[in-house]
């Protein structure tokens, strides 16, 4: 379970997250929507400790992410993260991209990590691209590679930061399908997204962020059809 309590985040004087309270249960799929600059990405970075926080607490399975004694490298293996920019490692083949972290971080043998990588590439439908370098893959394929790379660490949580925003429209579908597949398999997911269809169909809950505040959170039906907050309604009226 991910527990976020009274979380405040500043960049210098800029107050980016203004007291976020949020729990995500095992198996839940949460989508986060909101305007650009509302702090959605920053929240994900705070959850896996890529950003420091100034106040409050984030706990993952009871472990405080920002406590000094926490081994962040170990904790991060529990949380896969997929970025808007897929960041494939260009000097490694698809298989090596996925096999790297199991071998280096978890100390798996070369053969074991390659086996893990093969399985995850098949999982995301890239079994025919095993020995290909990322430069020869489309954006959608590279994003699926990034998902496979994260899954190879056998994470219990997956954080998606606008995984489809940088993709050409015709490539969005294949990545969303992969994310849907993960949701069906029971993966706990937090997805920052602009894909309202995905948020509505796949999420258990949807959160709307406005200027560093979690304005509203609830089941998709509430957020998309019966908003409690006027701001949510206004935002959705504009994106549609």
């Amino acid at each position: 379970m991910i527990e976020i309590k009274e979380l405040h985040k500043y960049f210098g004087d800029l107050h980016v997250l203004k007291g976020i309270d949020l729990n995500v249960e095992k198996g839940e799929v949460l989508s986060i929507i909101g305007a650009s600059g509302s702090g959605k990405s920053t929240l994900l970075y705070c959850i896996n400790g890529l950003e420091a926080i100034q106040k409050g607490e984030v706990k993952v399975d009871g472990v405080s992410v920002h406590a000094k004694e926490t081994n962040l490298n170990k904790l991060r293996t529990k949380m896969g993260m997929v970025f808007q920019q897929w960041n494939s490692f260009p000097h490694l083949t698809a298989l090596e991209n996925v096999a790297l972290a199991p071998r280096i971080v978890k100390g798996r043998s070369k053969a074991e990590s390659r086996e893990i990588a093969r399985a995850q590439l098949e999982h995301v439908g890239l079994n025919d691209k095993i020995d290909v370098y990322p430069s020869a893959l489309s954006g959608g394929q590279q994003q699926r590679l990034a998902i496979a790379r994260a899954l190879a660490m056998e994470p219990e949580y997956m954080l998606f930061d606008e995984a489809t925003s940088a993709l050409d429209p015709e490539l969005v579908g294949e990545v969303l399908d992969t994310m849907r597949l993960l949701a069906e398999e029971g993966m706990t997911m937090i997805c920052v997204t602009h894909e309202m269809g995905f948020a509505r169909d796949v999420s258990d809950r949807v959160a709307y962020f406005h200027e560093g505040v979690m304005e509203e959170i609830g089941p998709p039906d509430q957020i998309f059809n019966n908003q409690k907050s006027e701001r949510t309604a206004k935002f959705l009226a504009n994106v549609r």
């Binding site: 970075y45 896996n48 890529l50 490298n73 170990k74 991060r76 293996t77 949380m79 896969g80 993260m81 970025f83 920019q85 960041n87 490692f89 260009p90 000097h91 790297l100 972290a101 280096i104 971080v105 978890k106 370098y133 430069s135 990034a146 790379r149 994260a150 660490m153």
Partner: protein
């Protein structure tokens, strides 16, 4: 074989052998100083890329000095300095050390550029997988960044191979020194220099070909 001997009265096959041995010395000096200089240079470049302020006012300044003072002055200066402070080093050792430090100053700049070309998102992708800072450097940032500047590094390496000729001022029998001695003896400067030049070419050519091959391989 009798007739040409009068024509090549000074320069005989034995001299070719001298030059080959000298070429071997040049290669040795170059390989040692380029290797050591590259390792040090990557280390310095990494420090420069990590801490811009502290790095540039400390080692940045020293490296600038090594980059800007003519190598021949550095060689003579430090060789004599070594002897003054009682470090009895051979011209060969002194040459390798000084050329190595000089190389590291050049490589540091190149390496820093490469390391800095790997942006925050790529580093974060590594860290998000659970890789530590050093693992991210070793397996992600360095391979990507250093390959990006590999062509510049080859340029530095070939430059150092040629600059190794300056070690001749310390009297070590490398290519240029031996060539000069042969010129004095044979009075055939054109021939001797052409042969010495051919040796330099023979040393550089495989390196640049192999480098081109690597670049092509990495591009695919």
């Amino acid at each position: 074989m009798n007739e040409p001997i009068s024509f090549f009265s000074g320069f005989g096959p034995k001299d070719l052998w001298y030059l080959a041995q000298a070429a071997w010395q040049t290669l040795l000096i170059s390989v040692l100083s380029i290797s050591a200089g590259t390792v040090m240079g990557i280390f310095f470049g990494w420090i420069l890329s990590e801490s811009k302020v502290v790095g540039s006012i400390t080692i940045g300044f020293v490296l600038d000095a090594f980059r800007s003072v003519p190598l021949i002055i550095q060689l003579v200066l430090f060789y004599n300095l070594f002897n003054v402070i009682g470090l009895a080093v051979s011209p060969f050792t002194a040459g390798v050390i000084i050329l190595g430090v000089y190389t590291s100053a050049l490589v540091a700049n190149v390496a820093r550029g490469g390391i800095e070309s790997v942006g925050k998102p790529m580093r974060r992708a590594g860290r998000s997988l659970g890789l530590s800072y050093f693992q991210t450097m070793r397996h992600v940032v360095w391979p990507i960044g250093l390959r990006a500047v590999f062509p510049s590094w080859v340029g530095v390496a070939l430059g150092v191979l040629k600059d190794s000729a300056l070690v001749s001022v310390l009297g070590h029998p490398e290519l240029l020194k031996v060539a000069r001695d042969l010129i004095t003896r044979t009075q055939q400067p054109l021939l001797v220099l052409a042969v010495a030049g051919a040796f330099y070419f023979a040393l550089s050519f495989p390196i640049s070909r192999y480098a081109a091959h690597l670049e092509r391989k990495w591009q695919s």
